[in-house]
């Protein structure tokens, strides 16, 4: 994401060298994207001002849906749950991915075997992960009683105080490998000469990590964090299968609330309003993260878009 800005600069200088390809090459991709992403984006805004049960007629309804969504305490709760999941899963995932990425970018024994095992969760669908953890966390037939540790033999998914942390853990289990991969790539692109120089200056491993690795990974961190945060708005499948939002409303995060409102309670107007809220949150978070990375490199790109 960070490197997009250089495009326009490079293409600008290239223009004088030779005539570039015609714009119609972007047209097929653009058409697909317009029809199934941009127009629905406008559509969700439009539908948020209507009332529709999903089958019958769509009727304009002014701000009725918005009023009901914004006054519904479940919406506030869903936003709170979403915020908690974003923050907690970021706090858990970011450091683990960073450290594992740095670790796995070096040469270890059993490297090939480690690579297969570490990245296994990347291959599993969220539905598979959720079903596996549901069985694993079962208080009677799961890991807890199997290992004979009473503290582990809890009703993890039925306890509304614990379930959010279980969800955060399962999210980390599934997505840390992907972010580890991103960091691994980032670390491998740091010039070795920087470490040699640091070593000559007598910097130990810890100092090298804080003074060479971390600053060099700035843009990798922004890419990873953006994908992590925007991604957490799409954890729908995992939570839907794992807890279905429960117990009570304790894991009903915003996308799930949108699905249940629209497709279970048949209130598409309210669900669309929730969809708009999701889009706004995603956009604000992404812009915020890009801005953290410095205006001139990538923020200006997103702002101009």
């Amino acid at each position: 994401m960070a490197s997009i800005t250089s495009t326009s600069r490079r293409t600008q200088s290239r223009r004088s060298l030779s005539k570039g390809p015609s714009g119609w090459l972007v047209a097929p991709a653009l058409v697909f994207f317009l029809v199934f992403a941009v127009i629905p984006l406008a559509g969700v805004l439009f539908l948020s001002f209507t009332s529709w049960d999903g089958l019958g007629e769509i009727r304009l309804d002014g701000v009725g849906s918005w009023a009901s969504v914004l006054t519904d305490p479940v919406t506030g709760n869903a936003m709170l749950v979403t915020a908690k999941i974003i923050v907690f899963s970021f706090i858990v995932q970011a450091p683990i991915s960073l450290l594992l990425g740095v670790f796995t970018s070096g040469a270890q024994k059993y490297r090939a075997a480690l690579a297969v095992l570490y990245f296994l969760p990347l291959l599993l669908s969220s539905a598979a992960v959720a079903i596996a953890f549901k069985a694993l966390l079962d208080p009677n037939f799961g890991m807890g009683p199997g290992l004979g540790i009473p503290a582990l033999a809890q009703d993890w998914l039925g306890n509304s105080d614990l379930v959010l942390f279980v969800v955060v853990f399962v999210i980390a289990w599934q997505f840390v490998p992907f972010h580890t991969l991103i960091y691994q790539g980032g670390v491998r692109q740091i010039p070795a000469s920087l470490y040699e120089a640091a070593q000559i200056d007598g910097a130990g491993r810890v100092k090298q990590f804080f003074h060479v690795t971390l600053p060099q990974l700035k843009y990798t961190m922004i890419t990873s964090s953006t994908l992590m945060v925007v991604g957490s708005l799409a954890y729908f499948d995992l939570v839907f299968v794992l807890t279905a939002g429960g117990p009570g409303y304790s894991t009903r995060l915003l996308p799930l609330h949108m699905y249940l409102t629209g497709f279970k309670a048949n209130d598409m107007g309210a669900a669309s309003a929730l969809g708009v809220i999701l889009v706004v949150i995603g956009l604000v978070l992404a812009l915020f993260l890009q801005r953290l990375g410095g205006r001139n490199r990538s923020a200006s790109q997103l702002e101009g878009a």
Partner: protein, 299 residues
Amino acid sequence: MASTTELAVPPVAPATRRQPAPRGGKGPGRRPNLIGSLGGWIWLAVIILPVYYVIITSLKDQAGFFTTNPMMPPTEPTLDNYKLVLEKDFAKYFANSLIVTAGSVIPALLVSFMAAYAIVRGSGWFITSTSKLFLLGLAIPLHATIIPIYWMITRAHMYDTLLALILPSIAFAIPISVLILSNFMRDVPNELFESMRLDGCSDWTMMWRLALPLMRPAVVTVGIYNALHVWNGFLFPLILTQSPSTRVLPLSLWTFQDEFTANIPAVLASVVLATLPLLVLYVMARRQLLSGLTAGFSK
């Protein structure tokens, strides 16, 4: 899957070319990174434990599941659960997943490749604003648009067809594909294009004869990445299809769960079966996938 034939190609990723030898402070004469290793092994255990549990449980019969220690392997492993799942139209769901994945990934690659070529090689407000639009697509949780998509699909009488899954999947794959492909495309030296241009080649020729062969590893990477996403996708099938004849694998896991409420080993056998094709693919294309993904995201 879309890229099965290409996977046999030896992985000569430009990504590996770009990467200096692995380092990370483990040069000669360095102490071993004890804390790093410890953390690495702990995480490995965290990853492995659930996988181990799923596999051993899927090999237990129901009686064994209720009576033996959950973390102990079965005394008499059985493949009955796998048989049961395979008898439940698993092949049909597998075929549906295959059709949807290939049907989404190949067109998405084609249009994204053309767009990436134009974005890197071309200029002008149209191309620039299109590339910005795709970039914005990365920052927006596109799942929020599912309700209008549901409306469009039903109005187009495509509800409960595989095409209903394919079309939006193509669109959702475009932003990330264009981003990764254009990141790679920038590494193709300009001189190559210039000399082909002097020989009188059109952009169309340059795209397919020069850029595509050089970008092959990147194309495979993007193909695998998208294939993973589409193959594992859950939301579109949940909302846009209904009947068993259009069911795809992730959704079938969810419905097996309802069907076999008390038969956890069978449910877990279906989890293993649904993951197996990807595991085979991964073991075959591991280097390509990992080096391609790392390079694709960290540039």
